[in-house]
């Protein structure tokens, strides 16, 4: 597909990286000639220097033949205007809009301006955080097949019933329709087979039906109750949305912000929140506010370093969950090595939502990637494909397929039912298939075969 991306910031570059790897033809547009040039050199894309709101510039970027326009500049107005400029063209438009005033009116934008998708990074980030808070035992949650399959990761602690046992011996779990598909141990990643022995402090990821998740965790001896009280440090846009959502979900929320005016605003806008004016990085203040009585702590200041430090402190104190907001995209491996609890990156979440949309669009032609998660420093991927009706894989029993090394077919979703595949199962058209793999660069389902 031909994609025009306006805005070469963090999200723009993340999209360029992912989409160019998936063989799309990309043109980037930005005012800053240096960032256009550098991005065009780093990735195999075309760069156009100019203002994305000018039709001439967009025409030069090939908008006439493009399939999607993605506007992710700093400014909401520029993004909206970009999409508006190409209303007459046949391409779909995606705009990043972060100002809450506009966000509330996203339906109007969609209908009146013909914008296909409006995305708000802070809201996306907050929604992801809320999901983690409702499921505090999981380190990470990803969902496939429009939320009908979950990929849940958790850390095996010393007294877990899993420690020291082989995967095939876990008979008590078999009734739950789940499959352990990825195990992270230190710096290594494994796609486990039946003889794999799980050890203490491994991070285990499994596929399951969302409805079963809490029962599985209970079976594993891990408490699963949703967070009831939490403290949010830093009330930027993300914190604001999160506080709103948590109160709506019936949680008790205490928020801290360093800016007095902001505190007053919040107190006015979110009456249910307990607003505290002070420095969230001040340990005395945190102790004073009884952080140890809280179920969870969310660090969402605008400074990554501060979030990390506070999280490391809070990890020792709070009872269930620490969520850290990170804005940098490049230091993933360093951040992962810090042993933080859960990390949420609103920019990445935004980019992933856009990718989801783009992938869904390109799926009309073949069994292409639908959803993709990267774990453990990008070395392992969990990918969802939709089986195309002309796929050569249809009707072949799994035991007859010669798969590449390090590929596991983790789940098949058929007619809203999750099938944990065995050797005699086979694919049918329109199935959602989730695979876990340490091989990279799978673009279509057929790529799992050894050739």
């Amino acid at each position: 597909m031909q994609i025009v991306i306006v805005g070469c910031g963090k999200v723009g570059r993340y999209l360029v990286r992912e989409l160019s790897e998936e063989n799309h033809d990309i043109t980037i547009v930005d005012l800053d000639s240096d960032s256009v040039r550098n991005t065009a050199l780093e990735y195999d894309v075309m760069g156009v220097e100019g203002n994305g709101t000018s039709y001439t510039t967009l025409e030069e970027a090939g908008i006439k033949t493009a399939d999607i326009l993605i506007a992710v500049t700093q400014s909401d107005e520029v993004n909206l205007l970009c999409c508006f400029m190409v209303k007459k063209e046949k391409c779909k438009t995606i705009a990043r809009v972060r100002n809450p005033i506009y966000s509330a009116e996203s339906e109007i934008f969609k209908q009146e301006l013909g914008i296909s998708m409006i995305i708000n990074p802070e809201r996306e980030g907050a929604a992801e955080m809320l999901r983690l808070l409702q499921f505090p035992s999981a380190v990470d949650i990803g969902s496939f097949a429009k939320g009908k399959i979950d990929l849940l990761s958790f850390r095996v602690n010393k007294n877990s019933i899993l420690a020291g046992r082989k995967v095939k011996d876990l008979t008590e779990l078999q009734k739950y329709q789940m499959l352990i598909c990825i195990v992270e141990r230190g710096k290594e990643v494994y796609i486990p087979n039946g003889d794999f022995v799980i050890e203490e402090s491994d991070i285990v990821s499994f596929i399951a039906h969302p409805g079963n998740a809490s029962r599985i965790f209970r079976e594993l001896g891990i408490f699963t109750n949703a967070v009831k009280s939490a403290i949010i440090i830093g009330m930027g846009q993300t914190g604001y949305y999160l506080a709103e959502m948590m109160i709506e979900a019936g949680m008790k929320v205490k928020v801290i912000d360093i800016d007095k005016k902001r505190c007053e605003e919040i107190a006015m806008d979110i009456p249910g929140a307990d607003v505290i004016y002070g420095d969230g990085s001040d340990v005395k203040l945190l102790d004073e506010e009884h952080i140890e009585m809280m179920d969870a702590c969310i660090c969402s200041t605008n400074i990554d370093e501060e979030n990390i430090i506070i999280s490391l402190y809070a990890r020792e104190k709070v009872r269930k969950k620490v969520v850290t907001k990170i804005s940098h995209l490049e230091f993933n491996n360093v951040i992962q090595s810090l042993n933080l609890d859960s990390v949420v990156n609103p920019k990445e979440t935004t980019a992933e939502s856009i990718l989801l949309y783009v992938r869904a669009m390109s799926n009309t032609t073949g069994s292409n990637v639908q959803t993709l998660y990267r774990l453990k420093d990008d070395s392992v991927e969990a990918i969802e494909f939709i089986v195309h009706k002309e796929s050569e894989l249809i009707g072949i029993q799994l035991k007859d397929m010669k798969l590449k090394d390090g590929v596991l077919i983790a789940g098949i979703m058929r007619n809203d039912k999750l099938i944990i595949p065995g050797g005699t199962d086979s694919f049918e058209a329109d199935d959602s298939v989730v695979i876990a793999t340490i091989n990279k660069g799978f673009l279509k389902l057929e790529d799992i075969l050894e050739r």
Partner: protein, 481 residues
């Protein structure tokens, strides 16, 4: 520096060259020159073996940056030249290695200068390989390799940037690989068009092949002692037109392909290029009218020589050594101007000349009106300071290399006219110069050192100076550079 990846790229180039060496083998079989054919075949097989085995193991870290891009391109050209020269030496057709290297570098860089005193003594296999090297070198061996490369990341752009002629490389389409394919398609179609027209005009098929490939790459190796003088007037006109076509920026053809003829016709570089050609042909025609029988003949020779020199091809239909001084001087000036950027030709490039002239004009204007603000424009866009800076740096580096070479070559003691035009013709990838190295002469008389210097100049000229100078820079080879 990522040495592993640089050597991987070099092996790719060897592989591509090995594959292309099978073509002269085919010619050899047709002409039953079995002795030479066997040697070419063995070379082809060995190069392929080295290439295929070497590229079988892909390096883990494939990331390269600008530095590696330049080094890989410069080294690739040295490697293909050395490997390309070997068949000449082994077949004993050009027994001296330095001579063979000069000849093949002259081929790959699309120069067309020859050290051969009797071209017609060469076997058809060698003649074909010589001319084929023009075709390959014209668009670039690495650009060709890029089409086959398992392209994933953008680092290939560094390779393309370092190899393509011209101040700024623009991609036609988002992917480097697709751009390379489009370039080669245009190139191939134009070449085939010329081959067909020449065949239709009654030229021998072998001459047609060699001449067309020489025209396409703006090379200029002829396969007859008389150059192109033996061909009929019609054939000479066909060659003239195609030489000029190959000197045009390939974006021009891409715009036409995309049905954006308006944009194509507005390209200031192409307009300036055509303007220079018309002016030069007019002046020279008048100047040489007395030498030839009629106006038609004078215009034909003037147009052929002007087209040949400005596109840096280097074919000749007549010995322009015998022309009056004005005409010869115009030809020497054309040597420096060269063809359009983004074509297969060499020289300083018309776009650089246009930018340079406009900058000079602006500076004059600014001196007269110090407070006026004025920008330099090209194709309706402002030329940035960085672009103007790179043009001035290029021209400075160009003349630095030019004058140093001029001094070294002069040691051999030939006439100043010969030396000056020899260096000019090498660095601009033209072929013939004046006096001793004129269209009917050869470079055979120069000593080994001069030949090596000229070989370096040809490579430097083809790769736009900087990659070759970077190779000579000590800081590149330091471990912690």
């Amino acid at each position: 520096m990522n040495y592993r990846m640089v050597s991987y790229i070099l092996l790719w180039v060897v592989k591509v060259e090995g594959l292309f060496l099978f073509l002269p083998v085919l010619i050899g079989l047709i002409y039953r020159e079995y002795q030479q054919t066997v040697i070419f075949l063995i070379c082809a097989v060995i190069y392929c073996a080295i290439g295929f085995i070497g590229t079988h193991f892909k390096p883990k870290n494939t990331r390269i940056f600008q530095k590696e891009g330049f080094v890989a391109v410069a080294l690739s050209w040295i490697v293909i030249s050395i490997f390309g020269a070997l068949p000449f030496v082994i077949t004993k057709e050009i027994p001296n290695f330095i001579d063979a290297l000069f000849e093949i570098v002259s081929g790959f860089t699309t120069t067309g200068s020859s050290i051969l005193t009797d071209v017609e003594a060469l076997s058809h296999v060698c003649l074909f390989w010589r001319s084929f090297s023009h075709w390959l070198g014209g668009m670039g061996v690495l650009v060709f390799a890029l089409m086959l490369f398992p392209a994933k990341d953008g680092s290939h752009m560094y390779l393309m940037r370092a190899e393509s002629p011209g101040p700024d490389v623009s991609k036609f389409v988002p992917r480097v690989k697709d751009t390379a394919i489009i370039l080669y398609k245009i190139y191939l179609v134009l070449t085939i068009a010329e081959i067909l027209i020449l065949l239709f005009s009654g030229m021998h098929w072998f001459d047609t092949l060699c001449i067309s490939m020489g025209t396409a790459g703006t090379g200029g190796f002829s396969i007859l002692a008389t150059g192109c003088a033996t061909y009929t007037a019609v054939q000479q006109w066909v060659i003239t037109i195609f030489m000029i076509l190959f000197g045009v920026n390939f974006s021009f053809y891409y715009f036409i392909l995309c049905k954006k003829a308006g944009l194509a016709l507005k390209m200031e570089e192409v307009r300036a290029y055509i303007g220079i050609i018309i002016a030069a042909v007019a002046v020279i025609s008048v100047n040489i009218l007395s030498i030839y029988d009629n106006i038609g003949e004078a215009v034909r020779h003037a147009a052929f020589q002007v087209g040949s020199i400005i596109t840096t091809t280097g074919y000749a239909t007549t010995d322009f050594n015998l022309w009056p001084a004005l005409s010869k001087t115009i030809l020497v000036v054309l040597m420096f101007i060269g063809a359009c950027a983004g074509s297969t030709g060499g020289g300083l490039k018309v776009s650089r000349i246009v930018i340079m002239m406009r900058t000079v004009k602006r500076e004059i204007y600014r001196t007269i009106n110090p407070r006026r603000v004025k920008t330099v424009q090209m194709d309706g866009k402002t030329v940035s300071d960085a672009q103007r800076h790179s043009v001035s740096v290029y021209i400075s580096a160009y003349f630095l290399v030019f004058f140093i070479s001029f001094i070294v070559v002069s040691i051999d003691g030939f006439s100043m006219e010969s030396n000056f035009t020899a260096v000019a013709s090498a660095i601009n990838n033209i072929g013939p110069g004046l006096d001793m190295v004129g269209p009917m002469g050869s470079f055979a008389a120069y000593g080994a050192i001069s030949k090596l210097v000229l070989t370096f100049d040809m490579l430097a000229g083809r790769l736009e100076i900087l990659p070759m100078l970077i190779l000579l820079s000590p800081s590149l080879w330091k471990r912690r550079a």
